[in-house]
Symmetry: D2
Subunit: 137 residues, 4 copies
């Protein structure tokens, strides 16, 4: 059984478009924010700073999202993150958004460890990998 990382967002006025529903682009920002939260909580440190210092990064390879139902102002969006696939260099996250049990969207977000010096993929180090494995489905 994979461990699930959970975080929550309040749907605000500024997330919504003239149709009165969340502008889809903001869901991608929330997906990325969930990955950011997972990095800092699962790893117990500010991942971005560490990566910047080590001159490595996790650039995004691809992202996709299915939108099932619209979200509205005032909704509490529950985000659930697991790792759908853990490659040699890459992590493919699956992030689901729900409001009161109703699934609103399901996203896939793939990043890969890269040297910022050489711009080439690097194998994920064993100690990092170990912390990721509980989240792999």
């Amino acid at each position: 059984m994979a461990q699930t990382f959970r975080t929550e967002r309040k749907i605000r006025f500024s997330h919504c478009d003239p149709a009165g529903i969340v502008y889809f682009v903001n869901f991608f920002d929330m997906v990325s924010g969930a990955v950011e939260d997972w990095f800092s909580e699962a790893f117990g440190f500010d991942a971005h700073s560490t990566f910047i210092r080590s001159r490595v990064g996790f650039p995004i390879v691809n992202t996709s999202c299915e939108f099932f139902r619209p979200c509205h102002l005032g909704d509490r969006l529950e985000l659930e993150l697991v790792i759908a696939r853990l490659g040699r260099s890459s992590i493919e996250f699956s992030v689901t958004g729900r409001v009161g049990g109703e699934e609103k969207f399901r996203a896939r977000h793939k990043v890969a460890l890269m040297s910022l010096e050489t711009q080439r993929a690097l194998p994920i180090p064993a100690d990092m990998r170990e912390k990721m494995e509980p989240y792999v489905v």
Copy 2:
């Protein structure tokens, strides 16, 4: 040969993240903006207003994007839009971003015509369809 709709964006300071490259979420906003431009230019009217008045809309079904190379401050991003697939109710756009010939990303963005009253898919009317067909690959 399909017709290609072209539009351009200047990469600004506010598009860029602490890594000094375009934050990926802004690419989705540009893809959506290209579709918006295409609607207003290909149809010769303000599509959104018309849709709102007719109580129909084109909600997004799914979106995906492959990111090939980062974009930087000052880049002139050329966006190219074609229709990859035109369904009974749905339009699947393919939008490519290039800087000086180098492909930066390729997105798929699928929308479907829907009644805002019944929340059900509607067939794309023949006159609308006719204006879309030149862009189908």
Copy 3:
């Protein structure tokens, strides 16, 4: 002694610009979000929906902000809201942002109650006013 409304924001990757600090525009979004939170918490209902239903709104008259020190990724920004001046139709909020006691910015944000039908200012009703008064400095 005025009551202070407090709320908090986590500074995220997406808030930050290529200089590695919060892009100032995001502070205005947080100020507006603090006002939104205050409305819903101080009034015990979803203010925006109610306003939309009653065909009234609180459009922004003016906003200003002094920026004292930059904010960084990972900062916990504490927002403090009070009412600097309560007019017949208008509310002028004062919102301060602090990180660990250090003042980062101080904003003034003035809104006025308006009929969405006539586009004219309306006096703030007595029951609304009563709930606002504890926050007036």
Copy 4:
């Protein structure tokens, strides 16, 4: 007679809020973008890159804006920039937004030249100053 720097923005779906008008925060982004455009066009180079290389910057001291009338989807917003006050280290821009001659907002935006090493204000160099002076009202 001061020279005026002019630039234009198309009001898009993504700029607008559930009330169907431009979310005020986006005006601040446009004001900042107008300053960015002015820097690159008035100085004939990519200002940000140069500043980053020289380890100097123009952080924002304060910003304020009066909002007169709402902007709508499809509006062509004309932005006009002049320098309201040119100090030893600081530049205070005045940026006005108009649609078809109607004034929508008027902003003040003050920045100051600063060393990124020492975090202290620097006098604006004479050659920079010379290029700024035509825009001072």
